[in-house]
């Protein structure tokens, strides 16, 4: 049959146990609940519907970046006629000053590290 079958099968078992460790961990410790970004704004609506923002805010930010920096267009008008400054620190963070609870909560959960914040300044969170 298999030469050194015992060793090979043991090795495979150890490998699988290690490689699937995240799954064992979740099975034992229970899945971490999906974070819910905390809203602290008094505004009722964002520049786009919630579902769009949730799915593709990064594409929107990319578009804003190019329009502001390269075309010098600094404001955007929402379909319902509100005018917004296309800016991360001066726009988004006006309504969402709680970066840690709003941006970082999901980004950390999904293990993505956008490098916006290497340059764009996080507003000093107001002690609430």
């Amino acid at each position: 049959m298999l030469y050194d079958g015992g060793k090979i099968l043991t090795g495979l078992g150890v490998f699988l146990a290690a490689a699937l460790l995240p799954f064992w961990h979740n099975a034992v410790a229970g899945k971490k609940p999906r974070p819910e970004p905390k809203l602290v704004t008094s505004e009722t609506r964002c520049v786009e519907p919630k579902a769009v923002m949730r799915a593709s805010h990064m594409a929107l930010l990319d578009r804003w970046r190019d329009e502001v920096v390269r075309q010098g267009v600094r404001t955007t008008t929402t379909p319902d006629g509100r005018v917004w400054e296309m800016s991360l620190t001066n726009g988004c963070l006006k309504c969402h000053p709680n970066k840690q609870e709003f941006c970082d909560a999901c980004h950390n959960y999904l293990a993505v590290t956008p490098y916006c914040w290497q340059c764009h300044v996080e507003r000093k969170e107001k002690a609430s």
């Binding site: 920096v69 010098g72 620190t89 001066n90 290497q118 340059c119 300044v121 507003r123």
Partner: protein, 254 residues
């Protein structure tokens, strides 16, 4: 009329040569007469510096401090890492080709305020491989820090030393962070942008607003009635290293 093969080939050859040469010639013509004259009705931002007014208080750093505070320019501990947007340069370094013999020592013995010249023919733009820096229609040589890959070609290309490279993460060295303006990151080049973010709001550049002597005049060269044009009409002005053909938009009154 009969055309021999030899003469047919001659004519055909010259025709092809002529057609191929046309775009080449047009390119050369465009390059040499590049749109230096601001289009009337448009905007061509420019600065006029009056060194005599600037030098009234030699220790004054109001414009430098205002600019560097507004734009989160770091104060690096080591000179080789220095980042600067606007600074003072000895006269002979700022104007190495002037040979200012016997003229007023008050002008030549003191430092000159220098910053990005926002050239009409900017060498930094020509060498940038990613178009992270480009010349806007209003003449501002703009930077897209998102796109800069830190190759430093522009630093080498700029004959005025107007560009600084972030050798280290600048954040820890910014005295007081202005939240409204981004900082830069390690590996990015930065320079004066004529405060395009303030111009967009109808405000003059931070250095102009901060100058107590009115030594910095900012305005539109394309408007014949603007203050800068009036100054340039009434007084003689020089630009830095004119022989290089960069056509700076920063003028120094004599």
């Amino acid at each position: 009329m009969r055309t021999g093969r030899r003469s047919f080939l001659k004519v055909a050859g010259f025709t092809v040569l002529g057609l191929a040469g046309r775009p080449l010639l047009r390119g050369v013509a465009e390059a040499s007469s590049a749109s230096r004259e601001p289009r009337s009705g448009g905007t061509r931002w420019a600065m006029v510096v009056d060194p005599r007014k600037c030098l009234k208080d030699e220790g004054c750093r109001a414009c430098i401090e205002a600019c560097h505070a507004a734009h989160n320019v770091p104060v690096m501990p080591e000179a080789r890492h220095e980042v600067k947007w606007i600074w003072k340069e000895p006269f002979d370094k700022a104007f190495p080709d002037q040979e200012p013999e016997y003229i007023d020592e008050a002008l030549t013995s003191r430092p000159v305020l220098v910053f990005c010249n926002h050239c009409d023919n900017p060498p930094c733009v020509r060498v940038c491989p990613t178009q992270a820096t480009w010349r806007r229609d209003d003449g501002i040589v703009m930077m897209d820090w998102h796109r800069c890959i830190g190759c430093r070609y522009c630093v080498a290309g700029c004959p005025y030393g107007s560009r600084s490279f972030n050798w280290r993460d600048p954040r820890p060295f910014i005295p007081a962070i202005t939240e409204a303006f981004p900082t830069r990151t390690k590996g990015v080049v930065e320079k004066c942008t004529f405060c395009e973010e303030r111009l967009a709001q109808g405000q003059p550049p931070a250095c102009v607003a901060a100058c107590r002597e009115g030594a910095l005049v900012f305005g539109n060269l394309a408007d014949p009635n603007s203050e800068v044009r009036a100054l340039l009409r009434s007084r003689f002005a020089v630009r830095r290293k004119p022989a290089l053909g960069t056509h700076p938009a920063v003028y120094y009154l004599v």
